[in-house]
């Protein structure tokens, strides 16, 4: 009788371990997928920028510096290796692009161009997709990490050597910095 009870208890424990293990594996795959999704969107962003530059070059004769900076930032982002460097370079690219978009205000012809409008929409959307992909990645990675840390999940995680996923953080100093407001009225 005792033997049967022990066997049943053992069976339940094994089933529980399997279920827990599988849920951790599922989460890990979701984390990997989330990371891939960020990459897909970044690639798309890199592909769009040359088109945009081509489209606006004609209108913005006097902004060659800004255009060149965008292209350089884009090339640096493409060449970046590893998540930390990629995050930094992407941040710089975002800033270069927002400077460019701000300049659009000075060129009514440019703003009226249907082609530029579409490219700008595509880029805006891609920027959003990048940040939503990061957001989703961080959410799912946090969930994965919590599942590994809480009891009794931590036993399973330790047994099968699960490692916590790295969160995607804002690593660019400029993105984290509080904007300085200059109130002195100098010219």
């Amino acid at each position: 009788m005792l033997g049967i009870i022990l066997l049943v208890v053992l069976g339940i424990i094994i089933i529980w371990v399997i279920a827990k293990y599988n849920s951790l594996i599922t989460l890990r795959n979701q984390v990997k997928n989330g990371w891939k999704q960020i990459d897909v969107q970044l690639k798309r962003r890199h592909d769009l920028i040359p088109n945009l530059i081509e489209a606006v070059r004609g209108y913005m004769q006097f902004e060659q510096d800004t255009l060149r900076m965008v292209v350089e930032a884009r090339n640096a982002a493409v060449a970046a290796r590893g998540p930390a460097e990629a995050a930094a370079k992407e941040g710089e690219l975002t800033q270069a692009l927002s400077r460019l978009f701000a300049l659009f205000e000075n060129y009514p012809n440019l703003k009226a161009s249907e082609n530029v409008k579409q490219l700008q929409e595509e880029l805006t959307s891609t920027e959003n997709k990048v940040s939503f992909a990061r957001q989703f990645y961080n959410d799912i990675a946090t969930k994965f990490n919590i599942a590994q840390q809480v009891f009794p999940g931590n036993i399973i995680a330790g047994m099968f050597r699960f490692t916590p996923a790295e969160l995607f953080e804002v690593t660019v100093a400029a993105e984290r910095e509080v904007p300085k407001v200059d109130l002195s009225l100098k010219k």
Binding site: E114, Q118, K129, F132
Partner: protein
């Protein structure tokens, strides 16, 4: 925003799965009840001895009604979404029309943010801004927006609305609400058909009860009245049910939508714009009103709070929803 808010969504998913089953079961039983009435009063058959002492025979009305009810209910679950889309004359979004480029992009963005499969996007030909989501589950989901919504809302506001609809998909609200929409429609059809049938086939019940006479007659009469009232009131009751299941969902979808965009003010200003164009959304029929982001019928009840609004409104008051979203934006910043 932290991850601890997510369990709310999972609880809501569970509740929706359960509620869908209860609603479908209640619907089938209600069908059976109406069918048994036909057996009793029109075919004079009562194998369970509820009213007549010896009226054996196969309760064909009950059997037929139960089967029909089950077919209706599973049809509602499987094809309710398509029926809802058809009833509002929605058409699939023209992928290459530059007018809809931003909207399509936003749906892609929210798909990424939510980690769900991409819902199919439909356009409802109506100048009034409104939107709804429908479907069986996130794998078979549809988001429909009116032409007016695309025209009148800016990018941020559209994003807020799509995120709200995406939350309905994620919560499985769409399943419950679509089944309710389909079954409310079915009850309308049924009560209509039943009234016709009584018109043509009303003779037999009279014969049967007069041939028996005596004490049974009073019970039969009372039951007949109860049955009649149930059948007449069915459409109203089912609509009240539709309203009751939809209201508190809107707050949750607003909140989890804001969690997707991290921008509650986008949805707040969208709701403001939608409210200010008080025209009813004519393309969306009464039966699917509870699916929409704001009441398409423009009913007064939806602007107030209180006992009457609690019974008749499908949606919580917009001003209160906007207030909550504003408060959320404030807490995001601090």
């Amino acid at each position: 925003m932290d991850i601890t808010k997510f369990p709310n969504i999972y609880e809501q998913q569970k509740r929706n799965r359960r509620q869908t089953i209860i609603i479908m079961a209640a619907f089938v039983l209600f069908f059976g009840f109406l069918g048994y009435g036909f057996d009793l009063f029109f075919f004079g058959v009562d194998p369970f001895g509820l009213v007549y002492e010896d009226a054996p025979g196969f309760p064909i009305g009950t059997a037929f009604a139960l089967i029909a009810g089950a077919i209706f209910a599973s049809w509602g679950l499987q094809s309710g979404a398509v029926a809802v889309l058809n009833s509002s004359r929605a058409y699939p979004v023209p992928e290459n029309d530059p007018k809809y480029r931003t909207l399509i992009n936003i749906v892609d963005e929210m798909t990424i943010a939510s980690g769900l499969p991409r819902p199919k996007l439909y356009i409802v030909p109506d100048p009034d801004p409104n939107a709804f989501a429908t479907g069986k589950d996130p794998q078979h989901s549809y988001i429909a927006v009116t032409e007016g919504l695309v025209e009148k809302l800016n990018r941020e506001e559209l994003q807020g609305v799509i995120a709200h609809e995406m939350s309905h998909v994620k919560n499985y609200d769409i399943r419950t609400m679509t089944v309710v929409a389909a079954l409310v429609g079915a009850i309308f059809l049924l009560s209509d058909a039943a009234r016709r049938m009584m018109f043509y086939g009303g003779g037999r019940a009279g014969r049967r009860s007069s041939s028996r006479g005596g004490g049974g007659g009073a019970i039969v009469a009372i039951l007949f009245v109860v049955w009649l009232i149930a059948m007449i009131l069915a459409p109203i009751i089912s609509q009240l049910l539709a309203m009751a299941v939809s209201r508190q969902r809107e707050y949750l979808a607003d909140a989890s939508g804001a969690e997707l965009t991290r921008n509650p003010l986008g949805l707040a200003s969208a709701l403001e714009k939608i409210e200010s164009s008080a025209e009813p959304t004519r393309a969306i029929k009464r039966g699917s009103a509870h699916l929409c982001i704001v009441d398409p019928l423009g009913r007064k009840a939806n602007f107030k709070e209180g006992a009457i609004a609690d019974v008749f409104a499908t949606h919580p008051p917009i001003s209160k929803r906007i207030m909550i979203l504003r408060a959320m934006a404030y807490s995001f910043q601090s």
